[in-house]
């Protein structure tokens, strides 16, 4: 039996709506005592740690709007749409369907048995998932339901505002001409929470000049963050050694990780700076 906080949980009720509207109405009705749930892999580990389990679980398993994947046009640009209930392993295994940065991010999360249940929507909704920096670096957009309307918004706005809207899907640009990188530091080689995760994308022209630079960082105890100053520093330039040194300093200034029981903020800054600089150097010089 799962636990509610430190006490044995015996009365959690599972509600299984079949539409977005039903799901939203149930959340409105039960408020803070209810949570949406899809794969539930991370939520269950939280409950095992002693976090309170809600009295009501609103399963999204039967909500068709959050299922499947496809192609969308957004402002004339082609995007791949991933329904919130797409599992991380589906993303990991279907290299021909999804952008390689997404596939690489999924590969770095947990292990196959967890990835077979864990969903992209859940990874985003928990606020610290390792898909988030990849999606930030890709300029993804997200489709949400706010109780009245289904609407698109920039992915970064959704993350920054800690939106409580119901995630329907995330849309990723199909542009595969950008260079990209994704790195995740853990306490062991695989299947542990991230200390620092970094992701980046950029175009590189014939003169080795960078454009459309996107850099994102996060960690299991660090809020996802875009490194706007660093992006501006690199935009339009062909990186030199001096500039890469300046980039290193700027990352250390701009990135604001937390200190937790395992790692200091200073250490995380250093890891992120080393990784981003080495990856930019590898891909652009």
């Amino acid at each position: 039996m799962i636990r509610q906080g430190t006490t044995s949980l015996i009365d959690t009720e599972v509600l299984i709506p079949t539409s977005l509207e039903q799901a939203w109405d149930l959340k409105e009705k039960f408020g803070e005592t209810a949570s949406f749930i899809a794969g539930g892999t991370l939520m269950q580990t939280h409950w095992a740690k002693g976090f309170n389990c809600p009295l009501y679980l609103i399963s999204l398993d039967q909500v068709n709007e959050v299922k499947g994947w496809g192609k969308d046009l957004v402002n004339g640009q082609s995007y791949t749409r991933l329904g919130a209930s797409i599992t991380l392993d589906f993303c990991r295994q279907n290299k021909e369907l999804f952008h390689p940065l997404l596939v690489e991010a999924a590969r770095n999360i947990a292990a196959p048995a967890v990835r077979n249940k864990a969903t992209i929507g859940g990874n985003i909704a928990n606020g610290f998932g390792d898909m988030i920096p990849a999606l930030l670096a890709m300029d993804a957009v997200i489709t949400v339901f706010d109780g009245n309307l289904v609407h698109l918004q920039p992915f970064y706005d959704f993350i920054k505002n800690h939106s409580q809207s119901l995630i329907i899907s995330v849309q990723v640009p199909d542009d595969q001409t950008k260079r990209f990188f994704y790195k995740k530091l853990c306490h062991r080689e695989s299947f542990t929470p991230s200390i620092v995760t970094v992701a980046g994308t950029f175009h590189l022209n014939e003169k080795k000049e960078l454009s459309a630079v996107r850099l994102a960082v996060s960690g299991s105890t660090t809020q996802p963050q875009r490194l706007y100053e660093c992006e501006r520093l690199l935009e339009g330039s062909a990186p030199t050694n001096d500039q890469l040194q300046k980039l290193f300093q700027t990352i250390e200034e701009e990135f604001t990780p937390t200190t937790d029981v395992f790692s200091t903020a200073i250490y995380k800054k250093s890891v992120a700076a080393n990784w981003v600089v080495s990856e930019i150097a590898r891909l652009a010089t």
Partner: protein, 169 residues
């Protein structure tokens, strides 16, 4: 939809779930949040599936749900409804499954506690990828912890199954 208003609940809410376990249809009345590993072990006495970390980290409770590897400690009863489950007890016929035999022959276990989960993970891997690379084997087993063998015998066992399968073709 919901079974009761919370204020009325005096006993654990239960739901009827119907699932296939190792080819046999089973119908149970269980709390919707009861874990599959508990159902398997305590209700159905299929104790080959082991319980250990209870948070999806060790893989000792791995089973296959609709042909996909899952940690049964992270599957709640309502999520198992209308699914097909295969546990370690469902692999062998009159003879051991070739993966089980390879684990025996190559020293793929010592205490054996992780072995059912390991075998289920290898079975899931080879079902979709009959000739995995070393890297793919490692990734497939990255959620299964063994604290006895150092993994050497396990990897040898997997490679032996692959070799035997290829020779049989």
């Amino acid at each position: 939809m919901g079974m009761k208003e919370h204020a009325e609940i005096m006993t654990p809410p239960k739901m009827e779930i119907s699932l296939t376990i190792n080819g046999t249809n089973v119908v149970l009345q269980v709390p919707p949040t009861k874990r599959l590993v508990t159902i398997l072990r305590e209700e159905l006495h299929l104790t080959g599936t082991k319980i250990s970390c209870e948070v999806g980290r060790c893989g000792a409770c791995a089973v296959q749900m609709n042909n996909q590897l899952v940690n049964s400690c992270l599957v709640m009863a309502y999520q198992a409804n209308d699914t097909s489950i295969v546990t370690i007890e469902g692999l062998a016929g009159e003879e051991l499954d070739p993966i089980q035999r390879a684990f025996l022959e190559e020293g793929g276990f010592q205490c054996g506690y992780c072995t059912p989960g390991m075998v289920m993970a290898v079975n899931a891997l080879l079902a979709t990828n009959p000739s995995p690379s070393d890297e793919q084997i490692q990734e497939a087993l990255s959620g299964n912890l063994c604290r006895c063998t150092g993994y050497g015998g396990i990897i040898r066992a997997v490679q032996k199954v692959i070799t035997n399968n290829n020779q049989a073709i």
